[in-house]
């Protein structure tokens, strides 16, 4: 029964939650042996659709046909047995067990009396890994592997469980560029074996590289499916967003003021060395480089989250000593850190409390908080940044990624910084929200702030920056002005060539 063209057909799937109509008659057709990209803004319904596919939700309207036959999962196990596997964005594995043990978790080769056949376990693991061209010692503990290696184990696991469809959710958000190449190689191999991949990602350039077809969802409805070949990125975006997005990056004719930040000889043993640069008022300086090149570490030291071993920092010509975030804030530096969930927000607190996290002095007298003043300040921030939230008391964890990021930005802006540092400002954020944040960053620079943007997304850093500093293994590899900025140029410097 191997003669089906479409390994998966989801037809007219609808699902509601109390008060929310998450999916309205959505269809998805995936051909055998292809990479099918699933796209859409956050909240479009991708996640709900996938949860139905993997059996997490068993109540829904519509039909699912898998390998030509109608199926109805009774749960996650039944979906797995049928041949559907999912590799979540946050990988699920047991850190203290080895790669081999994780690979065959629940499926271990047994000997008599229920004992695990250790030898066979390792042998089989080696085989599975070899099949996807991955080289690592299956006896290593998962916690000692890199994110990318752990991902490989999950892929090997899915294949060894005879999956016909593997769903990958934002697979490249936490791995380096070289590892992305490896992943794409493996995806290519997997395709050859006749396995299909549903690829969920916000990264357009990756989708163009790896996918054969794409499907767009918007607001819980099916917008369309098209082949990648011949597809136009602007059309893709307008399918996702429902409107034409004129240039993602706003045009700038910037006017630069005097030097605001001056960094000389900043060094941290083993992390970065002799970093020197200036940022003028009204300027957007981008910092690019491969993962591990020291970008985040440098800006963390400027802000005071970490301390450098040596070097000078001057703000508006004045030498300053910054030993803590409090010093940084006091000196007019604001940092929107890399990981909003662990560093920027207290997820269980409300939008209001998060916005005010570093700004309580603005609404309190003698250590006592004025609830009324607080509300006023927060409401203004919500309005100014167009943060989408039902109320200011909504817990931060319930907002979408883009709006969570806006909370952090709002918090930082209330400190009235002259120097604004943004580290990966649009990570995990959909296209519509990205565009809003780019407009915001540009506006802030136009208003005279000195802006530093650290980013791994080349189109983003090239589109935003007036100048790009490229780091390579902790050292300044070069500087690229906007007029000369191309992906090749930046990447070449980033690789140290």
């Amino acid at each position: 029964m191997d003669d089906y063209l479409n390994v998966l057909e989801m037809k007219n799937i609808s699902k509601s939650f109390p008060g929310v109509h998450a999916l309205k008659s959505v269809s998805l057709t995936v051909k055998k042996g292809t990479v099918h990209a699933l796209m859409g803004e956050n909240g479009a319904g991708k996640s709900t659709l996938m949860k139905i596919l993997i059996g997490m939700y068993t109540e829904y309207e519509g039909d699912i046909f898998f390998k030509g036959r109608r199926i109805a999962h009774t749960g996650i196990r039944s979906a797995m047995d049928a041949g559907i596997a999912m590799i979540h964005q946050e990988l699920s594995y047991v850190p203290e067990l080895t790669a081999a043990e994780n690979l065959f978790l629940g499926n271990e080769p047994r000997r008599k009396f229920g004992r695990i056949d250790e030898k066979k376990l390792i042998e089989n693991a080696r085989e599975s890994l070899a099949r996807i061209g991955v080289r690592l010692d299956p006896r290593t503990k998962m916690k000692e592997l890199s994110v990318s290696e752990r991902q490989m184990i999950e892929i090997a696991k899915a294949i060894s469980q005879n999956a016909d469809v593997i769903i990958m959710d934002e697979p490249t958000s936490a791995i380096s560029d070289r590892e992305v190449e490896k992943l794409f190689e493996i995806i290519g191999d997997v395709k050859q074996k006749g396995i299909s991949i549903i690829y969920i990602s916000h990264k357009m350039d990756e989708i163009f590289r790896i996918a054969d077809e794409f499907t767009v969802l918007r607001d819980g409805t099916f917008v369309g499916t098209q082949p990648i070949k011949g597809a136009d990125i602007r059309q893709m975006i307008s399918m996702m967003v429902g409107r034409q997005l004129t240039e993602l990056f706003p045009e700038r004719s910037p006017e630069f003021g005097p030097e605001m930040l001056s960094v000389r000889g900043l060094t941290k043993r083993g992390v970065f060395e002799n970093i020197s640069f200036d940022v003028r008022k009204g300027e957007i300086v981008g910092i690019a480089g491969l993962m591990g090149s020291g970008r985040t570490e440098v800006v963390n030291c400027i802000y005071g989250l970490d301390q450098a071993d040596s070097g000078d920092i001057r703000i508006a010509g004045r030498p300053v000593r910054i030993r803590s975030p409090k010093d940084g804030i006091r000196n007019g530096i604001g940092l929107v850190s890399e990981d909003r969930k662990t560093q920027g927000l207290v997820l269980q607190l409300s939008v209001r409390e998060n916005v005010m996290l570093s700004n309580l002095p603005l609404c309190s007298q003698a250590q006592v908080v004025s609830a009324a003043k607080e509300r006023a300040i927060v409401d203004e921030t919500i309005a100014n940044l167009a943060i989408k939230t039902p109320t200011r008391e909504q817990k931060a964890k319930n907002l979408s990624g883009g709006n969570q990021q806006k909370i952090v930005i709002g918090k930082v802006l209330l400190g009235n910084p002259d120097i604004l540092i943004l580290d990966e400002p649009t990570r995990g954020i959909d296209v519509g929200a990205k565009s809003e944040i780019y407009k915001l960053i540009t506006k802030l620079a136009d208003e005279g702030k000195a802006v530093i943007v650290v980013s791994s997304e080349l189109p983003e850093i090239i589109g935003l920056s007036d100048r790009i500093l490229v780091l390579h293994e902790g050292k300044l590899a070069g500087e690229v002005p906007r007029s000369e900025a191309t992906e090749e140029k930046v990447m070449t410097l980033a690789f140290g060539k």
Partner: protein, 323 residues
């Protein structure tokens, strides 16, 4: 600490039709539990609902309530303090020593509270600068403080205390002073937690220490203060205890920390920090007090009482997990 790892804002399946049920239960469920307990006991024992008995309950609960309020602060930042019972003994003996001679009450009270603050300060420094786990540090302090109490009292109870000191365990305008002290402590703590910058920072540090630090909050300082407050309130509890039995008793207080932490947990404060209400702690302490009192009135042997109490605590945690 508890960063949720969903990047896509999904409609929360728990909202909507269950919203009314969930919120209502969370806000009033605890109070309802207390009412139901009182109803049950008043049905089983004719004595329970008398004025004398209820005032008795309040009085008995007061020491635990003070300790529970203090340790709520610590638990809110994700810490713990296991030494509360020993602190009660040590501060009680300190106060008693000074109340032995003469008729003062200010000096003994000051000594007791100061002793508690000092204990809290030592805990705080060891935990923040020494970077040691609160569990271990306060476990050690539990033993050390008990030892110190035995040392300064020479192992013997200190009695014959000044009448003005003993009066702390008495009444004022018909209301028991310990109950008034609990009320005062509760109101001040409520104000601090909900109306001050410091209080907000406590929730921030407990909710996500890293985010708090990145936002410029002095995390170590907040942690320090919280342990000092807990110690200081333990000092207050120690004074009330000593005044109540009119003795500085070095062996008193064994197991007090468990009752205090149980009150906090039953009250809905999460042991991992960042969420919880002081009102919950108070009701939790009342629930424990009512159970103790009710079971006493019904002549249930004390060993059985312990089993029942243990089951109720676990039950409370299960309910909390489900909601």
């Amino acid at each position: 600490m508890n960063a949720m790892s969903q990047t896509i804002a999904e409609p929360n399946a728990k909202t909507g039709t269950t919203r009314f049920g969930g919120e209502f239960f969370r806000k009033y469920g605890l109070f309802m539990a207390l009412i139901i307990l009182c109803a049950v006991f008043s049905f089983l024992s004719p004595v329970f609902l008398t004025e004398r008995n209820l005032l008795n309950v309040l009085n008995q609960v007061s020491i635990n309530a003070i300790l529970a309020i203090g340790v709520t602060f610590v638990i809110l930042i994700g810490g713990i303090d296991l030494g509360l019972g020993s602190y009660v003994a040590l501060t009680g003996c300190l106060a008693a020593m000074l109340a032995e001679s003469g008729d003062g009450f200010l000096l003994p009270v000051a000594a007791g509270v100061a002793g508690g603050l000092l204990i809290g300060w030592i805990n705080g420094v060891t935990i923040t600068r020494g970077k040691l786990a609160p569990f271990i540090v306060t476990l050690g302090m539990m033993t050390a403080a008990r030892g110190a109490a035995l040392v300064i009292s020479d192992g013997r109870p200190i009695s014959r205390l000044s009448p003005s000191f003993n009066a702390i365990g008495g009444t004022f305008l018909g209301v028991q002073i310990p109950v008034l002290i609990v009320l005062a402590v509760f109101l001040i703590a409520l104000f601090v937690l909900h109306k001050t910058v410091f209080g907000r920072y406590i929730y921030a540090v407990g909710g996500n220490e890293e985010a708090a630090r990145t936002s410029g909050i002095n995390v170590n300082r907040i942690k320090m203060y919280v342990y000092v407050i807990c110690g200081g309130l333990a000092g207050v509890a120690g004074i009330v205890q000593a005044a109540r039995i009119e003795t500085g008793q070095p062996n008193i207080g064994t197991g007090y920390e468990l009752d205090a932490i149980a009150a906090v947990v039953i009250g809905g404060t999460s042991l991992s920090g960042g969420s919880g209400r002081l009102m919950g702690t108070l009701i939790g302490a009342l629930i424990i007090g009512v159970i103790n009192n009710g079971l006493d009135l019904l002549n249930v042997p004390s060993y059985y009482q312990q089993i029942i109490k243990g089951l109720i605590i676990v039950g409370a945690l299960l309910i909390d997990r489900k909601s």
